[in-house]
Symmetry: C2
Subunit: 228 residues, 2 copies
């Protein structure tokens, strides 16, 4: 009979609960590591690794190596569209809709990206530092003289950070904002400093939330390039 492309293999790929969870976790366009996806899918790392290999070799996912992590994202917006369509069908088949928890908006706002700040706040911070000349070059960021002084005043041991093999500054793509945020040794040290100053509190999982004082101080830092 008349048959188009075989949809069965693709659909079977999407039909496994673990893989479906992985894909839905990536639907907002972010890139996540294998470990994160394993947790999202509720399976062990080995199992997730197998799934990710299948999804990648079917061109549903693209992988990108960054350090010792592998970041996965949907290979194309089309994939997300089909997933959307399937969700539409799922509703009418009686599949339960799980209410989007309150954690997700929080996650987009401020979260840990391995060891530095990501999300809206992470992007704001990065762009604020650039704007006030504390770092320069958005693509290959580096510390300026002004920035050096500022961060040392802020309590960071810049010299010891520079002796590490790890690059001081690095741009990390923020997948919820599709823009850059600050990674590298400086990014990690800044996050630590934020936590020590109790500007930030670590929530469940990767979520971090600003304390009221932290919120105020962060605003000041971003807008004026200074800490009050």
């Amino acid at each position: 009979m008349n048959e188009g492309p075989k949809i069965a293999s693709v659909a079977a790929l999407l039909g496994d609960p673990a893989r479906a969870n992985i894909l839905t976790a990536l639907m907002d366009g972010r890139a996540l590591t294998a470990s994160e996806l394993a947790e999202a899918a509720g399976v062990t790392l080995q199992t997730a690794s197998g799934h990710l290999a299948k999804l990648e070799s079917s061109n549903l996912l693209k992988a990108e190596k960054q350090g010792r992590h592998r970041y996965f994202r949907l290979s194309d917006p089309d994939v997300a569209e089909v997933l959307e369509g399937l969700m539409g069908l799922a509703q009418r088949t009686g599949a339960v809709r799980v209410r989007s928890g309150p954690r997700d908006p929080q996650l987009r706002q401020a979260r840990l990206c391995y060891d530095h700040l990501a999300g809206e706040r992470g992007v704001e911070l990065f762009e604020g530092l650039l704007r006030h000349g504390l770092i320069h070059d958005a693509e290959r960021p580096a510390l300026t003289e002004d920035g050096r002084g500022f961060f040392m005043d802020f309590g960071l041991e810049i010299e010891s950070l520079e002796r590490k093999r790890r690059p001081l500054c690095r741009r990390c793509l923020d997948w919820s904002e599709r823009r850059g945020h600050l990674a590298g040794a400086l990014g990690a040290a800044l996050l630590q400093q934020f936590l020590e100053r109790r500007w930030l509190r670590q929530g469940t999982g990767r979520v971090v939330t600003f304390t009221p004082e932290g919120e105020q101080a962060f605003r000041s830092l971003v807008s004026s390039g200074r800490v009050s």
Copy 2:
């Protein structure tokens, strides 16, 4: 994490080759019987019945009883759209596109619908008979006096047909044309007559093809209401 409706169960439904074949066979909007779908899927009737039950209870298919047949069709155009989307993904995953065989167009043109003529030709015949007053009432068709004479001249034993319990005329929905064609005892007898006169030759499966003479005679019948 943030999860929408669970796509896994639906995708798993589409992920079985037999079910995928069933669904793709229905993608053009036609309604097919369980047996036809079993053949299309390449499985036995029992197996297909199980699949159809699942697809129906998931609201991907709607069933309609007609005599001792059950006609299945996609419950909604949305379903076809999602299938289309999956085909798109399937192409890039490297799934092979099977060229549309030559049988399908033939099938749309002229085929057996149980025991009478269906497809484009079936619809043409039905509408020709109506137009020339050989039958009347497209919804609940009945033989006219003119028609009675015509068909008896044509070689049909109308009187014995009328003694049967089976209704003489019946309208049957043609799913490739979405219009009516002639069923009932008269429809069956007409098909028999066409075959006996060698206007029609039975091909593989449900396909029937007109012979050159048959084509000409059929044209004349439809356009003028007479046989030359």
